[in-house]
């Protein structure tokens, strides 16, 4: 069982150049839980994740991990506690899968330390968990989008952090691999107590797999809480500008959002 860590954001303002992307945001990420962040394109989800893992310094406010300012923590110490899988990572040309996954061990290694047995074990466990062991000696360039995505997730797993932030981990995956990745993250959460924070575009997957759902609109918090409380027709309209019907998913008991576009809708609109 890993320790639970508190991660919270207070009066956070983020931006690039002279534009502000996130304006005064307050959030608490529940420790030991799975949190999903949803919101329209360009609303600042990736920006928020990057700031929580100290890649982007706040314009104002704080990101606090266990009460400590993330941006003042030693880089490697933070990287042993909190991992981030960026939205579209780039693999260097010709790198093999096991080499890429092995680089997730960087924060655990010292300048002159040799590669250890734990490093090998962590890489092997990450490959097994993501079903990429049979790809280990292949070059990352020649994998399919979905295989590549799983390899990147394996790299983040090899980092063995108690908190894991993932930016759209299921993009590029077919439906069965999406479910597999989300099941894998749930296993990680349940078996090891890893706190998971992920950006997802599929609201129904988010509602099903998350304990805690955060809806962002234009860099501001629209709603946060239990998926059944957050994922409502009003919320979908406010966040995405889309009419929808939200019913209860008979298979999970979680909310299920059915979009109402301009075509193929057989009911009378609310």
């Amino acid at each position: 069982m890993t320790a639970t860590h508190s991660l919270l954001v207070s009066s956070l303002r983020l931006g690039y150049g002279d534009r502000t992307v996130i304006e005064s945001l307050d959030l608490t990420l529940p420790p030991g839980k799975i949190t999903a962040i949803v919101g329209a394109n360009a609303c600042g989800k990736s920006t928020l994740l990057r700031s929580m893992s100290r890649l982007l310094a706040p314009r104002a406010g704080h990101v606090l991990l266990d009460g400590r300012e993330v941006h003042k923590m030693p880089a490697k110490e933070l990287a042993r506690t909190l991992g981030l899988l960026p939205q579209s990572p780039v693999a260097p040309e010709g790198i093999t899968v096991s080499d890429l996954v092995g680089r997730g061990r960087n924060p655990h290694q010292r300048l002159l330390s040799r590669w250890s047995r734990e490093d090998d074990a962590a890489v092997a466990a990450a490959l097994d968990a993501t079903h990429t062991a049979d790809l280990a000696d292949r070059s990352v360039d020649e994998l399919s989008g979905g295989q590549r995505q799983r390899v990147w997730i394996a790299m983040a797993l090899a980092q063995q952090t108690d908190l894991l932030l993932l930016d759209e981990p299921t993009t590029f995956l077919d439906v069965s691999h999406q479910v597999e990745v989300l099941d894998l993250l749930t296993d990680l959460n349940r078996n090891r107590g890893t706190t998971i924070v992920m950006v997802l575009h599929d609201l129904n997957m988010a509602a099903r797999y998350a304990d805690h759902l955060i809806a962002l609109a234009d860099g501001k918090l629209h709603a946060a809480g239990e998926p059944s409380a957050v994922l409502t027709e009003d919320c979908v309209r406010a966040v995405f500008g889309l009419d929808s019907q939200v019913i209860t998913d008979p298979t999970s008991g979680k909310p299920l959002m059915l979009p109402l576009g301009r075509h193929h809708v057989a009911i009378t609109r609310p």
Binding site: S53, A75, A79, P92, T96, R103, A124, A136
Partner: protein, 347 residues
């Protein structure tokens, strides 16, 4: 602890051990080739001297003929070739790795051109000698690195923009070098060739010692960043998320690499394309396992030693080493430009 390993763990360990053995083997092989090429450069020339006589010269004995030819001419020349080649290779692959683009090599983006122009200016106009020339070259190399970097910086460095700006600045600096040389009181063709293409003619022990010292001080500094540099291949965000301090790494690495390049350039001129070719050649033979700094340094040393041998003895006319490496490097540059154009369409 269980004694039966999982098959995945066994495979991971096995392939890691295989890769590091292969890496050690390739580095050992490259080092052997460098030593062999160094030896040949000492033996071959107008007169052939066997290894036994060369060894006696190195031990400080007086050997008629060989003491001067080998001790005063060939030894400093070959030593400077190896050291400068190592500096170019290491400095070049540093930039290529940090900017994640083989085109972002210091001899393409103007850093060696800057060092060269400054060195020519320091000698021809200011009449400075070794230390002053090196200081000028380093200052100019750093200045160019900073200028190219800031000009192309817009919320993260864009590769193509940086390279285009760098190529433009390199062209400007090269014409500045040509202008400065045209102002020289005594027109010296060898000197001119040296600052435009790089040459080992007239290599002295003083110059060689300067480059050796630079390598001794800056080499370890750069090697200390090898792991961080290696992580930067994954992109800034991923590297930072894995505990790399980007700004600090960049500063240390740029200062150390520019220092190496500038010292080498001050001694030999900008030997064309060695910085540009060494990294990709090293990557091709060693794969993605581990840092490329030392392999690229060895490839650089080998390139300069072999090119100097070819330039001096393969043709009726003696060509400066930079002409030979230029002929080797130009087709690769064209190939990369064509490939970039096809892939990105952003050029």
């Amino acid at each position: 602890m269980s004694t039966s390993l999982s098959p995945t763990l066994a495979a991971v360990t096995g392939s890691r051990v295989r890769r590091s053995r292969r890496r050690a083997l390739v580095i050992g092989l490259l080092a052997t080739l460098v030593v062999a090429a160094y030896g040949v450069n000492l033996m071959v020339g107008e007169t052939f001297y066997p290894p036994s006589e060369i060894w006696r010269v190195i031990l400080g004995e007086t050997v008629p003929g060989a003491s001067f030819t080998v001790g005063e001419l060939r030894l400093p020349r070959a030593t400077l070739a190896a050291l400068a080649g190592f500096c170019f290779g290491m400095g070049g692959v540093t930039f290529q790795t940090m900017l994640r683009n083989p085109l972002a090599s210091p001899d393409v983006i103007g850093i060696t051109s800057g060092a060269s122009a400054a060195a020519a200016f320091a000698i021809v106009v200011l009449g400075l000698t070794e230390t002053g020339v090196s200081a000028f070259a380093i200052g100019a190399g750093l200045a160019v690195a900073i200028i190219v970097y800031t000009l192309s910086f817009r919320d993260g460095v864009a590769g193509t923009r940086l390279i285009l700006i760098g190529i433009g600045i390199a062209a400007m600096l090269d014409s500045a070098t040509a202008y400065v040389l045209s102002q020289a009181a005594q027109w010296d063709l060898q000197q001119a060739q040296r600052w435009l293409t790089g040459s080992l003619n007239g290599a002295t022990w003083d110059e060689t010692a300067q480059v050796a010292l630079a390598l001794l001080v800056l080499g370890p500094l750069l090697l200390g960043q090898a792991r961080n540099l290696f992580m930067l291949q994954l992109g800034d965000d991923t590297a930072a998320a894995l505990g790399v301090r980007l700004e600090r790494t960049r500063i240390v690495v740029i200062v150390a690499a520019v220092g190496l390049l500038a010292f080498a350039t001050a001694a030999t001129g900008p030997i064309a394309f060695v910085a540009f070719l060494s990294g990709p050649i090293a990557a091709r033979i060693i794969g993605s396992a581990g840092s490329l700094l030392v392999p690229a340094g060895l490839v650089g040393a080998l390139l300069v030693l072999v090119a100097d041998l070819i330039g001096q003895y393969a043709f009726d006319i003696r060509y400066p080493v930079g002409v030979v490496t230029g002929v080797l490097g130009a087709p690769y540059l064209v190939y990369l430009l064509i490939r970039t154009n096809r892939a990105g369409g952003s050029l």
